[in-house]
Symmetry: C2
Subunit: 167 residues, 2 copies
């Protein structure tokens, strides 16, 4: 990943407003992948020893909620309500409810995050130091990656996943 | 996806330089996923009726090569050498050779693409009209998505895929 901070000569690739729409578009698609699973398969279907999709979705919740707070404040701390080591909904409805809470949180916190914050180099959740834009891209990439596992799970169950390009 | 073009009030999320590093980092990881497949499984292993990983990788080549040219010039035309409907290498080595050609092409063409080009709304390859930054993000997202299928294929074969965070 690129580790330099922005300078005044940096050319804009994507704006902060557009990046919010991009992220929420992906989250909207992942929500529909959760919905596409039969209730039991959401919690117990697996291939090659990998985690069921409910656990992957819970990991995404556990990154996104404290992640957007970290981007805004520089405090990278887990949030108990969304902590996958402490909270694991037992139903699809419970999982979607947490998902939707995070959606609201992201929309409300995002406008407080300046362009300078996204260029700042920090250690997100105590990991390696990267510019914050790279950490957010990593969160989104990780979501696409795990959601694609969900696509394979659905296909292996004979279920048509949502179209990838519909956000 | 966000469909508005940039204005002078747009705040930088990620610069064009950093986006190139991000894209090539993903392509470097995908290259290692290709390498991780046994030669025969690369061309014939499948789950749920989905394409073998060699075909997915060829699709990515077929998007990236003419894609970077389209971003630079506004001409969105397939390139015969990389067209997956006309070219399909029969060996892992042949596939990696095409992959590496595209890597060089991207590095050489990228500096010619202005920030304004990335904000311009166009119909990439005759699809829906989006700003060019959204089309490139779509190319990268599509790569992450298909590569993750490759991760599941490898896991189902008992093979440890490369670490997702190593680019």
């Amino acid at each position: 990943m690129e580790t330099q901070t922005a300078t005044t000569t940096d050319q804009l690739f994507i704006s902060t407003d557009a990046m919010l729409a991009h992220w929420q578009g992906h989250r909207n698609l992942t929500r529909r992948v959760i919905e596409a699973f039969p209730e039991d398969k959401l919690f117990n279907h697996s291939i090659g020893g990998m985690r069921p999709f409910a656990e992957l979705a819970m990991e995404l919740i556990d990154i996104a909620a404290p992640g957007v707070e970290g981007l805004a404040t520089g405090k990278w701390e887990k949030i108990e309500e969304f902590d996958h080591t402490k909270t694991m909904p037992k139903t699809k409805e419970g999982l979607l409810e947490l998902w939707d809470k995070v959606t609201v949180t992201i929309d409300s916190v995002w406008p407080k995050i300046s362009s300078e914050r996204f260029q700042k180099v920090e250690s997100a959740f105590g990991q390696y130091e990267y510019p914050n834009y790279a950490s957010l891209l990593y969160f989104v990439d990780n979501e696409i990656h795990h959601r694609a596992q969900g696509y394979v799970y659905l296909r292996s169950l004979g279920i048509q996943p949502p179209f990838f390009w519909e956000r």
